[in-house]
């Protein structure tokens, strides 16, 4: 009886299927079908992984040295996601690693077709072309990268520098007429190999050099004791009066019209002094709009040599002239201008003290052989009991001109 009751209470198998279990089984089946359709739509055929994960696996193969396995995986991923340029680029890299350069090139070019404006894809392709010695194409791609993403400048410059070949070719094919980029590249190269002069020569020949690069070049030439070349670069790119400098006047920025730029070159060098204050002023001047003012504080018997300019002098006779103004400048030793030229040539103007309005001071000298020199604003130490200068000096319109 009990058994019959149990048997009566248990459903048979057909009633399970046809009864309450049927909807559950149908739901599971439906879910599986849905998942399969999603799988077919969105994931890679290789291992059933999404393309990105499959690509990562391919990279792992590549990094393990399994180049062929990586290629197979990348091929599969690219086939599943053919519109995504990175997949083709990845494939190109793997093929290049295997030395299958023709196929690699097809893959990279396809990636570029898919996204012509992507700097990353262009850079990857450029790396491939550098790698296979197809430098013109690599430079062309890098040029596009530089135009689109200046952030990559140093990376691209590194490729140029290491693989681009001659500076002329890099400038022509990798940079073009963009003067700012060209000058940035010059400084990149100069910082690594200052003896590589071809980059400057190319920049100069193409009229792309700017004043910043020219200053770098001048400073380097001066450190190499190549003063004449430095002077010529200065004249072409940096002199305030390019036509007159080294012709009518061998002093640049003669009236202190622009603030001197610190660093080596042919501009004024002003060294700070604890007992003087040296300033470029616009309220007092004899010509132009500015002059140089020096205030002595009377605390020391100073040997003042703190304002100078390097010179390049050709053979000939010269006259040194300057406009000077003084106000209550004490002691017997006043302010002078002194030139030290090549071959012991030299000149010094008379001392100016006390109070005087603008007036000209002058001296003459002769240079026998071309060479570097220097003009200095000086105040010699006094031998008197009252020897600590106090007062002010203004200086303007300094000139070293050839005597015809």
């Amino acid at each position: 009886m009990a058994e019959g009751a149990v048997a009566a209470s248990m459903p048979d198998s057909s009633s399970i299927i046809a009864g309450r279990w049927l909807p559950l089984a149908m739901s599971v089946l439906l879910a599986m079908l849905t998942f399969r359709s999603l799988l077919l739509e969105n994931v890679s055929g290789e291992l059933g992984l999404p393309p990105q994960r499959a690509a990562n696996l391919a990279y792992r193969s590549l990094w393990r040295g399994d180049t062929d396995g990586a290629i197979r995986r990348f091929q599969s991923v690219a086939a599943d996601d053919p519109a995504f340029p990175y997949r083709w680029s990845d494939l190109g890299s793997a093929l290049a690693d295997a030395g299958r350069n023709a196929e690699a090139q097809a893959a990279f070019e396809h990636a570029l077709e898919l996204t012509p404006a992507s700097p990353q894809i262009a850079l990857r392709a450029a790396n491939f072309y550098f790698r296979t010695g197809q430098t013109p194409r690599a430079l062309q791609l890098c040029r596009a990268v530089l135009r689109r993403l200046p952030l990559y400048q140093d990376m691209v410059f590194s490729l140029f520098y290491r693989f681009g070949g001659s500076s002329a070719r890099v400038l022509e094919q990798g940079i073009g007429s963009d003067a700012e980029l060209a000058n940035n590249y010059f400084r990149f190269v100069h910082a690594r190999d200052p003896r590589n002069e071809s980059i400057w020569l190319s920049l100069d020949a193409n009229s792309l050099a700017n004043s910043t690069s020219a200053r770098v070049r001048v400073q380097w030439l001066l450190r190499q004791s190549r003063q004449r070349e430095a002077a010529l670069v200065w004249k072409k790119y940096l002199a305030l009066h390019k036509d007159d400098w080294l012709r009518k006047n061998f002093v640049d920025n003669a009236g202190f019209e622009v603030a001197p730029v610190p660093g080596e070159g042919y501009d004024w060098v002003v060294e700070a002094s604890p007992v003087t204050r040296i300033t470029r002023v616009g309220d007092v001047h004899s010509e132009g709009s500015h002059s140089l003012r020096i205030d002595f504080d009377g605390s020391q018997n100073v040997d003042f040599r703190n304002v100078s300019q390097s010179l390049w002098l050709e053979p000939g006779q010269y006259r040194l002239r300057a406009s000077v103004r003084t106000e209550a400048l004490t002691t017997d030793e006043g302010i002078r201008l002194q030139v030290s030229g090549p071959g012991n040539s030299s000149a010094v103007t008379e001392s100016v003290t006390g109070t005087s309005d603008w007036h000209r001071v002058s001296a003459s000298f002769t240079v026998v052989a071309a060479g570097p020199g220097q003009i200095l604003l000086i105040r010699r130490p006094s031998t008197r009991f009252e020897n600590r200068p106090r007062g002010s000096v203004w200086l303007d319109d300094i000139e070293i001109s050839p005597v015809r």
Binding site: Y59, W63, G65, D68, Q75, A78, A79, D81, P82, A83, W88, S89, D90, L91, S93, L95, D97, A98, G99, R100, N101, A102, E103, A106, A107, E109, H110, E113, L114, P119, Q120, L123, R124, N127, F130, R131, T132, G133, T135, Y152, D154, M155, F157, S158, L159, Y161, R162, F163, G165, R192
Partner: protein, 331 residues
């Protein structure tokens, strides 16, 4: 349908990929041989590059972290790998970096490792400035210069070479090295430098190197003596170096087939044996050792699985054989 917009080009590219099979290896070619006919596709590409007068690429490097190539930070997000030119100095940063050499050897640089990469003919010369690396050589040897000493794993080897400063006040560099497959052809048997020229030009043959245990630079410089520093060269199979050397045990642990023979032969010949065994060991390279290496002392490394005893011009066991004037590294 969007994805099919570029179908013709895609199909062309895909067809090209499918139709071109894997590169075929010339039947009968042997790994590591110097036969020009062994040229790999990469070598053929190199030849084409050289013929075009372009800069030869000596390898590529990849990392998930920024890399420094000649001091310029190269962002892994910008490109998956970067080509390397000869004499490039590469520094990994926070992550390891994979260097694939032009002769298809794999080198994984530890984080914060610096190497200078050069082509040595068809092979590659790595000057390890700092840090360490794992290698997996394929068809060619790999020349690794660490702390002034040359380590040369043979083809089909895996292992590592790492540099670290010792705790000693003399700033001794320790070179930790091991092979897990294959063997070292040389383990610090010769001096080397950044340019890779010193050991090429040294016609006097190998100097003293190997595991020179102990900060005292315990190199058994005296020819004809098996003594090496505080330790004495042991009998067959064990090469004892100074107090710090792990040589003897290492030789036993990882010794390859002929390591013992090499040591024994060296000892029998009255040559100072100063080396780690078969790839495992710690070479303490000191200024003293460097000086000794430059001298005329002859020491034979017991490491490198006995390949140092190979004198056949054809090489031994398919290997190119020891470096010698007759078999120079191809710089």
């Amino acid at each position: 349908m969007r994805r099919l917009a570029k179908l013709p080009l895609f199909a062309t590219a895909l067809a090209a990929l499918v139709l071109n099979g894997a590169p075929q290896q010339r039947p009968g070619s042997r790994p590591g041989g110097n036969d020009p006919a062994d040229a790999t596709p990469a070598a053929a590409a190199e030849a084409a590059v050289a013929a075009a007068g372009e800069v030869l690429v000596v390898g590529t490097i990849s990392s998930t972290a920024p890399l420094l190539i000649d001091g310029v930070s190269m962002d892994g997000r910008a490109a998956s790998s970067w080509p390397l030119a000869g004499q490039d100095q590469v520094a990994s940063t926070t992550d390891a970096a994979l260097l694939v050499t032009h002769d298809q050897n794999l080198v994984i640089l530890d984080p914060f490792t610096e190497v200078r990469v050069s082509a040595a003919g068809r092979e590659t010369y790595l000057y390890l400035r700092k840090g360490g690396l794992n290698f997996e050589t394929r068809q060619t040897r790999l020349f690794i210069c660490a702390a002034g000493y040359l380590f040369v794993p043979e083809p089909l080897s895996t292992g590592y070479v790492r540099m670290a400063k010792s705790q000693a006040a003399d700033a001794t560099f320790l070179v930790d090295h091991q092979v897990t497959a294959g063997a070292f052809i040389e383990v610090g048997d010769r001096g080397c430098d950044e340019q890779g020229l010193a050991w090429l030009l040294s016609s006097a043959g190998p100097g003293v190197a190997g595991a020179v245990g102990g900060a005292a630079g315990a190199v058994g410089a005296a020819a004809g003596s098996a003594a090496a520093g505080a330790g004495a060269a042991a009998g067959a199979g064990a090469a004892a170096a100074g107090a710090g050397a792990t040589a003897a045990g290492a030789a036993a642990a990882a010794g390859t087939a002929v390591a013992g023979t090499a040591a024994g032969a060296a000892a029998a010949a009255g040559t100072a044996v100063a080396a780690a065994g078969a790839g495992i060991g710690t070479a303490a390279v000191t200024a003293g050792a460097v000086a000794a290496a430059a001298g005329s002392a002859v020491a034979v490394s017991a490491a490198g699985s006995g390949n140092n005893t190979c004198t056949s011009p054809d090489g031994c066991n398919g290997n190119p054989g020891p470096l010698s004037p007759a078999n120079p590294p191809l710089l």
